[in-house]
Each structure stands twice: as C-alpha cells, then as structure tokens.
C-alpha cells in the first residue's frame, strides 16, 4: 500500500523530470505519450490503491516518507494519508487528467511550446495529488501553491499575448489573497493544538473555543474562495480562459477549483465546531452559484459561459459543504469533473474546427460537421442541465435535498440556479450546433472538420461517464454507496432529519421540471437568432461590474497612492534626503576650499602659527 500510494504521487513527477531533462531529445509525439502515460499509470495505481484500501479494516493508512521539518515543537512529516476522501479525489483527478493529457496531444499539435506544455501539465497533476494525499496542512499547502503556480504558467501559456499574460497574473494574485486565509488558519490551528497533521488536529479539535473555530473556518473559507473561485475572489476564473482549452478543462474539472472544496471537506471536523462558519459557507456557496449562473446567461464567448457555469457548479458544492452534506459535495465534484471536462474538451473541439473562433455569434449549425463532438456535447449539455437520468441530476438532486432540509431560502436559490443553468447551457448548445451557419467568414468558406481521434476518444469516454456517473450514488462499494464510503472521513454534524421518501420524490420532480423548463425557454428564444439583446443584459455581460468595483475600490486608490508616492514622496522626501546630504556637503566644501590657496608659504605659515599656538599653550601650562 505504502509503495503504491507513493508511486501514485511520484509518477507525474517522474514524467515531469524526464521531459525536463530530455525534452529536447524527444519528439513531440514521444513527449505527449510519455506525459499521458505517466498519468495513466498513476490512475491505474490509484485504482489498485482503492481496492487495497477497501480490504483494509481501518480504511485509514498513513504512509510516512521522511521527516521534513522539525523545529521546536513543530514536527511536519512528509507523509501521505490514504483514506476514502483522498483516494476518491485521486481516482478522478488522475483519471480525468489522463484523458485531458491524451486530448492535448491532438489539440496542442504543432504548437511552439508543446514540450513545455506537457511539462507544466505533469507538474500540475503532481501538485494536485500532493495537495490531496498530504497528511498535514503544510504539505497540502505545498501542493496548493504548486497548483496555483502551474495555473499561472498555463493560463499565461501564450505569454506573448497581453491578455493572457495579465490573466495569468490575475489568477496568481487572486489566489495569493486566498492563500493568506489558509496561512492564518494554519497559524491558528498550530497555536491552539500544537500540530498540523490532520488526524492529530481533529483528535485535539475539542480544545478549540467556538470563536477560534469560527475564525479558523472563515480563514479556510477565504482560502477556498481563492482557489475555488467563489465570491468574493471568483473573477480570475473567467479570465483564465486565455489559456489553451485543455488547461481550462484541467483547471475546471479535475484540479485547481476542486482544491478549495476538498480542503473544506478535509477540515470537516473543524467545520463541525462552528455553526456561524458553516452558515457563512452555505451563503457564500448559494449566492455564488446564483450570481455566476446569471452572468453565464449573457456571455458571448463559448468558454466564458462554461467558466461561469463552473463557478456556479462549485458554488453548489460549497453550499453542500455549508449544510454539512460533504459526500454530496464530493459526489457533484466527481460528476462535475466528468461533464465539465466533456464540455470543455467538446468546446475545444469546436474551437479547433473553427480555427480558434470562440464567439458564439459566429458558430451555429455545426451539428452536421462534427459527427462525434455533437452527440458527446449533447450528452454534456443534458447532464449539466440536470435532465434525468444523467449524472448531474442525481448529484445536484442530492445537494438540493440536503439544502431543502437546511434552509428553504437557500433551496429556492439553488432551484433558481438550476433553472438558469439549464437555460444558459441550452443557449450555448443552440447557438453552437443548431440554427443557421454563421461561421463561413472564420473558416474562409471551408467546411469545419472533425478533430483527430486523440481528441474525440476522451470525449466519448467522458460522455459515457456523464451518462452513468449517477450510479456512484447507488450502493456499489461493498454494499455501501459513495456517501457511505466517504462519511467516516468527515466530521459529521448532527443529522438534519432526513427527508421522507415522498418529499424526496417531490424534490426530484421539481429538479427535473426546472431543467426541462430552462431548456424549453432557451430553445424557444435562441432558435430565432443569435442576436437577442433583450435577453443579454450588459450588466450581466460585464459580470455585475464586479471587476469595475474592485478597480474602483482597490485598483484606483492603489494607483493614486502610487502616483502620490511617485509625484510627492519620491522627489521630495526620498530624493530630498539624498540630494540634501550631497548639497550640504558641497556647501561646506565651498567654504573650506578657500583655505587651499595653492601657495606653499600659506601652508608653511599655517604650520608655524599652529606650532606657535602649541608652544604658547605648553609654556602657559608649565608657567
């Protein structure tokens, strides 16, 4: 078990190092298949570790690698924790990542920095696995930062484009703000419990006072909002669309954005101690889900729509965490990984076929040109819209049922979000694949072409997973459902009281009805044409002016302060001090230089007079 778990973690690192050291000797294809291969091996090993864990009676294995930091009372081992939560995360992280790697071979074909791309991808997967598998907060933080760094590199992959470069910086800075939260949480936990290893922290969680617990939870939430793109730190994710499409798929489906939700789930025993903390999490999640869904309704860029839908879906997961339905959050996370990877890779295939065009208004009628992308995208669309029996219907329903028990208000928000989700995804689908052909000018009159098999094969696999993902909720792991498998990991809060069978059915019917309603509304509006200004508010298109708000409250004051420093402080105070010293030295020197006449006899006279003074002094003293 120890060896397998270590290898799961190390395989992507091996791939990274091999490409790093030999990249220039390898052909493009070799680099691609090597990068994909190591992640695929990692996935197979994870499956093996999963079955080993099932056989393990405690279902909690700590793999000690070496002692990493040992200073005073702080002992941080480099150790892995293999338990139901981490193994579940690893399964879909490695699985989806392997598919995205395979897809990238086709998508990035012929790009200038092909090798560098795979280098980053492998390091990205390694960081994510480190984050998930670490048995203490410090090691998780290393992975956390690694994920942030790789996001930055990959988002600004086309760094010679201004927009991509600044999008990378934006992602990095937003993540830094969140990191502060995570650091504060770590400091608080260490100062109170004296350890940062998850299991020890949880064992000593009882000594935390409610105030401290709430502070820790809120700090963790800040960290999670940065990484998982929640209000107030969600703006970086739409900009991250500047990266290549497989990167978007990786960030949105398998890695970065799930990290925040994972952290909250991992820290659930601490969350259990703070009711206000959990309420805040639930509200942040619910509001983010709704706000992002409204924004997605008016976006014109196919990837931007998907980006906001990710924020919205992650909002559902955070909402689920807030109401204590951790396993429901993980359930949706897995299903989301399936269908969001599918949608992103599908949109990548569409963009690929249209020579890089991303504007929905320049698509349409692609149905007959993309024989494989179309049906798989269709499945992705139906899944995310929440149509039964696809995966999201079950996982989203699971969350909404839990939320219904917790708060009716948040439930209404969730259902509205579901309606909007069905609406904007149908809008995206109709504008892309149906209606009249508006792409002739971007393809210069040619017919769009279907992508190569390395790109369509992952689509087929992901479509299949999206269809059947719902069965994860059924009892299949040794007569246990996914939630039964995961629950021992979580610090559960007292049950809310389970919804009766009848109300569960009722809620499911509402979900399905809402999905169908949203789809019908969108189809009837958007089948008429690509330009419907009445339904595309500029307020929504401009992201509720959220960026402008930050610009006005943080960006501009900082710019003004810097300008003030440049105009006033720098020339007057800093430069003033420096030139002041120089000027005073020169002034005093101007006085003193008159003494240096250049006549020898003046110097001699000075010597004689000086001597005379000394003699007079000595004589006077003696006398």
């Amino acid at each position: 078990m120890a060896a397998v778990a270590t290898l799961v973690l190390l395989m992507p690192l091996v791939g990274f190092l091999l490409v790093l050291l030999n990249g220039s000797f390898l052909k493009e294809k070799q680099v691609g298949y090597l990068g994909t291969g190591v992640v695929a091996v990692s996935f197979i090993l994870t499956v093996a570790a999963f079955f080993m864990l099932l056989g393990d009676s405690s279902r909690e294995v700590t793999v000690n690698l070496f002692s990493w930091i040992s200073v005073g009372t702080l002992h941080v081992p480099a150790a892995l924790l293999v338990d139901p939560l981490s193994i579940t995360m690893c399964l879909f992280v490695t699985g989806i990542s392997a598919l995205i790697h395979l897809y990238s071979i086709g998508y990035m074909h012929g790009e200038r920095d092909f090798r560098k791309f795979f280098l980053y991808l492998n390091l990205f997967v390694f960081s994510m696995l480190l984050l998930v598998l670490a048995n203490n907060l410090v090691l998780t933080f290393v992975g956390w930062e690694g994920v942030g760094l790789c996001s930055y590199w990959l988002v600004s992959f086309y760094f010679d484009r201004d927009k991509a470069a600044s999008a990378g910086k934006k992602a990095f800075i937003y993540n830094r703000v969140g990191d502060v939260g995570m650091l504060i949480a770590m400091f608080l936990l260490f100062s109170r419990t004296g350890t940062l290893t998850y299991l020890s922290v949880f064992a000593r969680a009882g000594i935390l006072t409610p105030t401290v617990a709430t502070l820790v939870v809120l700090s963790l939430l800040l960290g999670a909002t940065g990484k998982s793109a929640q209000i107030p730190l969600f703006n970086w994710l739409p900009d991250a669309m500047e990266g290549p499409t497989p990167v978007s798929a990786l960030i949105h489906a398998a890695t970065t954005v799930t990290a925040g939700v994972y952290l909250l789930c991992r820290m659930s025993p601490i969350l259990a101690l703070s009711v206000p903390g959990r309420t805040t999490i639930a509200i942040v999640g619910g509001v983010t889900a709704f706000v992002a869904a409204t924004i997605a309704c008016s976006q014109k860029d196919i990837k931007k729509v998907l980006a906001f839908s990710t924020i919205s879906q992650i909002g559902y997961m955070v909402l689920a965490v807030g109401v204590g339905a951790y396993s429901a959050a993980i359930f949706l996370m897995i299903c989301h990984a399936f269908f969001k990877a599918l949608l992103f890779l599908g949109s990548g295939s569409v963009i690929h076929s249209l020579n890089g065009e991303q504007d929905l208004r320049k698509m349409g009628g692609l149905q007959k040109y993309l024989p494989l992308t179309f049906p798989t995208f269709l499945i992705g669309w139906l899944t995310i819209s929440g149509v039964p029996p696809f995966a999201a219907f079950w996982s989203k329903g699971d969350i909404l049922t839990n939320v219904f028990e917790y708060s009716k208000l948040l439930w209404i928000l969730g259902v509205l979000t579901a309606l909007l989700t069905a609406y904007y995804m149908s809008r995206l689908f109709v504008l892309t694949f149906r209606g009249n052909e508006r792409f002739r000018e971007v393809t210069s009159g040619h017919d769009p072409h279907e992508s190569p098999w390395v790109m369509t094969a992952p689509l087929v696999v992901l479509a299949a997973l999206s269809i059947v993902g719902g069965i994860l909720g059924l009892p299949w792991i040794h007569h246990d459902s996914l939630s039964g498998f995961l629950n021992p990991t979580f610090g559960l809060i007292p049950a809310l009281g389970h919804a009766s069978g009848l109300s569960q059915v009722g809620l499911a019917v509402v979900d399905a009805a809402v999905a169908v309603l949203g789809i019908m509304a969108a189809v009837s509006i958007w089948s008429r044409g690509a330009e419907q200004p009445r339904y595309e508010s500029s307020f929504l298109e401009n992201v509720w002016h959220w960026d402008d708000f930050y610009d006005a409250t943080i960006g501009r004051p900082l710019t003004l302060a810097s300008q003030f420093g440049d105009d006033v402080i720098e020339p007057n105070i800093i430069d003033g001090a420096v030139t002041g010293v120089a000027v005073s030295v020169r002034r005093s020197a101007d006085g003193l230089r008159k003494i240096q006449s250049g006549f020898v006899r003046h110097y001699a006279l000075a010597t004689v007079l000086g001597l005379a003074v000394i003699v007079v002094y000595l004589v006077a003293r003696v006398g």
Binding site: L592, R593, K594, I595, Q596, S597, G598, F599, V600, R601, A604, L605, V608
Partner: protein, 101 residues
C-alpha cells in the same frame, strides 16, 4: 674655554628664525630648500647641546638620523625641483598652484 649652553641655544634659535623667515618669504624653490636645511640643522644644534648638557648620547644619535633623512629628502626634493625647472624654466613656487581648491 667653556661656552655656556645658552649661547648654542640662542644661536640655534636665530638660525631657525632665519630659516623660517626665508622659507616663508622666498619664492625660489632652491632658496626654500636651503632654508629648510637651515632649520633642520638649527634643531640638530639644540639636540647636540642638550646631549652634552644632560650627558645623554641619545640626542647625538638622533642627529645622525635627522642628517640621513635630510640627505634623502634633498635627493628627492632636488630631483623634483630639476624636473619642475625643466618643464617651466622657473623654480618659483607661486606658479605651482594647480592643486588649489
């Protein structure tokens, strides 16, 4: 005949005064050199005088050092004076004021 020590000291003081006056008033580097030598030897005379009066040979030994240093100094100094004279056909020190502030 036993000359009192005070006479030697007065002579030395007069010699030193003449040297100092000449050094301060003359412009020719050569004359100034001679004045410096005059002052040095005036000091030497006091050393010797006190050496005899106090019966301490240290004073006489110091005189030898002063003479050696003076000889070395003259060698270097005259070399400089010759070099300056070659360049400007004059040994007036008032013209050597390039280094003034």
């Amino acid at each position: 005949m036993n000359v009192p020590a005070a006479w030697y000291l007065v002579l030395a003081a007069v010699l030193f005064g003449v040297g100092a006056f000449g050094f301060l008033t003359k412009r020719s580097a050569l004359i100034m050199f001679m004045c410096v030598e005059l002052m040095l030897n005036a000091v030497n005379l006091t050393f010797v005088t006190f050496a005899r009066t106090l019966s301490d040979v240290g004073g006489q030994a110091t005189v030898f050092f002063v003479m050696v240093v003076a000889a070395a100094e003259v060698t270097v100094g005259l070399g400089i004076v010759v070099a300056v004279f070659r360049r400007r056909s004059s040994t007036s020190v008032d013209e050597l004021s390039e280094m003034k502030g």
